[in-house]
């Protein structure tokens, strides 16, 4: 039961052209900027949008293949979809929404409702069985949508930001529940997520979609270690620099330079982990080969750490402790000294 | 099924005959046990049209001769039509006759609102004939579609007067001013059994009953002038 796709389609100004495969029991996270085509891609997989070229194949069966004039309508595909805007049926209560897929596939009313009730319990909403969607809170609605998709026992799961509105506690719970369910579920699944944690917690592999194309694909660890685009770097919280290396000196796009230790020459992608960047009040003396002064342009508290945005020669984000913020007197537009060891800069050919 | 069961005679009659024919049918059924009369009332031209489109009927009673001639010309009449009643024209005015109208000549008084039926309607045609005979050039404010419409408007005070059949002025709120007999024009009602009559004997019996003294008495009781 492998999902194997290679297709192109045009929607408005977006030209989507992707190819990937997801094995049975595997979860692929689809990440990418807004408007990259993630939801469009899921719609094509679900059969809500026809493709213009290529094919969509599930478990060896062609679901869509314009060249052979083959198109399996959505109802016969056995896909479960959680839509980004949940799309709960407004005239049905939570329970009947969840039971809908079972009823549509021919279950009798009683057994469908029993199964649906169990699903509501799993997403923590057994007490909201009779509640209409418009009377549900945003997060509750999203959980019902999740239960609805899972209850229909699909062959292929497509989840479009299934946890974006779910609260922190339930998220832990649902992530676990979802993982457990996914483990029990034999088919392939594709998850769209903006939240790195969600994506990485649920997925085995990640595909990064930008402007309709897959720009990077790999395991979670690979993506985290070597992000190849600004978007992924931002997602995993790493600094990403593009530039050219010449004689051990990296010249960044904006004109700044950094000493790096790499055998590569020419165009490269460099990554710098925010925690590898040290900040000082006075100019430090010591081993770091890169030392410069930069103004602070932003400070963000992130849990128990603080992310400091730096402008200047090379724009970077550093991560420090709240204690350091107080000690250094960090604030917007204060200038600080930045130290960065050459060995902390990861360099890959572009 | 559109065809009536045996011994049910379907009679197409002009709408203005609704009251006397309802009574006639009841009387006929009493004197002819087992026979049933089914009455269909509509405007005479409409009846002609329905007959032309193949409507099944046994007897046709028309309010004007032109319509009857059309049916005869179409070969739908099973016998020669018989005249069974006349109607006289009259001026209808509000109950207390506030404008003190005495005859056709009064109708052209300035400020009066008077309406006739349209020239296509028999009553309108007769009224125009009468006016012409009396030498009165009347301007009708509206070509009304039926005498009942004229009567209703007089009743509601919308019109000061109208020219209608004598039989239509028996309702409340209005009164009739009879025409000078010299100016009077009479409408002629005719009846005929049709070729599609089922059963033909009962249809013929009904036509005979209408022109019989008993039938004529009933018609007279409803204000019609009998031949």
């Amino acid at each position: 039961m492998t999902l194997d796709v290679d297709f192109g389609l045009q929607r408005g100004e977006l030209h989507l052209d992707v190819a990937f495969a997801v094995a049975a029991g595997e979860t692929l996270a689809l990440v990418g900027p807004n408007g990259a085509g993630k939801s469009t891609c899921l719609a094509a997989l679900a059969g809500l949008l026809g493709i213009a070229r290529g094919h969509i194949t599930l478990a060896g069966e062609r679901l869509d293949d314009p060249a052979r004039r083959l198109f399996v309508p959505p109802a016969s595909r056995g896909v479960g979809v959680v839509f980004q805007e949940h799309r709960l049926f407004p005239h049905l209560g939570a329970l009947d929404n969840v039971a809908f897929g079972l009823r549509a596939r021919g279950s009798d009313r009683r057994s469908a409702r029993t199964a649906a009730r169990e699903w509501l319990r799993r997403v923590g909403l057994e007490r909201h069985a009779a509640v209409l969607p418009r009377e549900l809170s945003g997060g509750q609605a999203q959980r019902v949508a999740l239960a609805r998709a899972l209850a229909a026992a699909p062959r292929l799961l497509l989840l479009d930001e299934p946890l974006s509105a779910v609260d922190a506690s339930a998220r832990l719970l649902l992530r676990r529940e979802l993982r457990a369910h996914l483990a029990a579920f034999a088919g392939p699944r594709v998850v769209v997520a903006h939240d790195a944690l969600d994506a990485f917690a649920l997925a085995d592999r990640v595909a990064v979609l930008e402007a309709g194309r897959i720009v990077q694909a790999g395991t979670v660890a690979e993506i985290c270690e070597r992000p190849r685009s600004r978007y992924v770097a931002d997602l995993v919280g790493t600094n990403l620099l593009r530039g050219t290396v010449h004689d051990g000196v990296l010249r960044v796009g904006d004109g700044g330079t950094l000493v790096v230790s790499t055998p590569h020459e020419g165009a490269v992608i460099a990554t710098v982990h925010p925690r590898a960047i040290a900040l000082f009040r006075e100019r430090p003396s010591g081993s770091p080969r890169n030392v410069w002064s930069a103004p602070v342009v932003g400070i963000e508290v992130a849990g128990d750490r603080v992310r400091v945005q730096l402008a200047g020669q090379v724009a970077l984000v550093a991560e420090v402790t709240p204690a350091a913020v107080a000690e250094l007197g960090l604030a917007r537009s204060v200038a600080v000294w930045v130290a960065l060891k050459a060995t902390e800069i990861g360099v890959d050919p572009a | 099924d559109g065809a009536p069961p045996a011994r049910v005679v379907r009679v197409f009659a002009a709408a203005s005959l609704s009251a006397p024919f309802t009574a006639l049918a009841a009387e006929f059924e009493r004197s002819h046990p087992g026979a049933t009369i089914e009455l269909h009332f509509a405007g005479t031209p409409q009846l002609v049209l329905q007959l032309r489109e193949g409507a099944q009927a046994s007897v046709f009673a028309a309010a004007d001769e032109v319509s009857m001639q059309r049916v005869v010309a179409a070969g739908q009449a099973a016998a020669a039509p018989s005249t069974f009643a006349h109607n006289r024209l009259a001026i209808v005015v509000p109950a207390d006759n506030p404008q003190a109208i005495a005859g056709l000549a009064d109708l052209v008084r300035p400020g009066l609102r008077v309406a006739l039926c349209g020239p296509e309607v028999p009553a309108g045609r007769y009224a125009r004939e009468a006016l012409a005979r009396a030498g009165v050039a009347l301007h009708s404010v509206s070509d009304e579609p039926s005498v009942t419409a004229v009567v209703a408007k007089v009743q509601l005070g919308e019109l000061d007067a109208g020219i209608v059949y004598r039989t239509d002025t028996t309702v409340g709120g209005v009164t009739a001013v009879d025409l000078d007999p010299a100016q009077g024009v009479t409408a002629t009602y005719t009846i005929v059994p049709l070729v599609t009559a089922r059963p033909p004997d009962v249809a013929a019996a009904f036509v005979a009953f209408v022109v019989s003294p008993a039938g004529q008495r009933l018609l007279a009781a409803h204000g019609f002038v009998v031949p």
Binding site: G78, F83, F89, F100 | G2, F41, A55, T148
Partner: protein, 264 residues
């Protein structure tokens, strides 16, 4: 904004409503005031009138049901897309609204009468004739009232968010299941409005009925036809009879109000 100002604003908003309501209520009120109430019971209770009333309710309800049957597929198809074919069909279906009812009746006779395009073969081979039967009344009423149903429901369907049907499809629901369980419930307000409109139009229908189905007491004489006959001889009775129609439909519509205009 203080309370007085708010009240004035509310009044200004309510004024057109009051004017519009008055426009419709005054004529009725006038009829009520002029009607010979002393004779109401005697008149309205007469077997002939009760027969006509019963026939009217039967035929208008049947016609509304036929509107649903004929009109719903049509509305669904019309709402399903664009294009010249749909535009032409929509216009053709709209025409019975434009046709004067009597002419509509003639057209029905031409098509479904005993010598008609469809009626002829029907009468000859199946010995089924529609004119001058109760079925003919229903046919005539259906002919004049279905277009109202179709246009109302099509408009409703066009406002329904198609994404719900998509969601149903991904849950394995075929087109019928989706239509019955998702689209139909969502279009319910317009469907109900369409049915009420069709029913009311059928209840008041006169011209096409008298032309196509005739005016036979007990078979095709609905209340509007009875009113017509009564107008010839006793106009007061006619007014009373039509007030009966008013009273009955007021009662029915009022009883239905919770089912048909439920709170959202």
């Amino acid at each position: 904004m203080n309370a007085r100002r708010r009240d004035l604003a509310a009044l200004a908003t309510l004024l057109p409503v009051v004017v519009a309501t008055a426009f419709f209520v005054l004529p009725l009120l006038g009829l009520l005031l002029r009607a010979p109430w002393s004779r109401f019971l005697e008149q309205a209770g007469s077997p002939a009138v009760l027969d006509a009333l019963w026939l009217s309710l039967l035929c208008s309800t049947s016609a509304a049901a036929c509107s649903l049957l004929l009109g719903l597929p049509l509305a669904v198809w019309l709402a399903g897309g664009q294009g010249a074919v749909r535009a032409v069909v929509r216009v053709l279906v709209t025409l019975p609204m434009v046709l004067p009812p009597v002419v509509g009746g003639i057209a029905l006779l031409v098509a479904y009468g005993r010598n008609g395009i469809v009626g002829g073969p029907l009468a000859r081979w199946l010995d089924v004739a529609l004119p001058f039967t109760t079925a003919g009344v229903v046919l005539a009423a259906t002919y004049v009232s279905t277009p109202f149903f179709v246009l109302t429901v099509e408009a409703g369907l066009r406002s329904v968010d198609r994404r719900y049907a998509d969601a149903a499809a991904t849950l394995g629901a075929g087109p019928w299941h989706t239509f019955g369980r998702v689209t139909l419930p969502l279009v319910l307000p317009s469907l109900r409005a369409g049915l009420v409109v069709a029913w009311a139009r059928a209840l008041g229908e006169f011209g096409a009925t008298i032309t196509f189905a005739g005016n036979l007491a007990g078979h095709t004489r609905t209340l509007p036809l009875a009113v017509y006959v009564a107008l010839e001889s006793q106009p007061e009775a006619a007014v009373v009879t039509s007030l009966l129609l008013v009273v009955v439909s007021v009662g029915l519509l009022f009883l239905l109000r919770h089912r048909w205009w439920p709170s959202r």
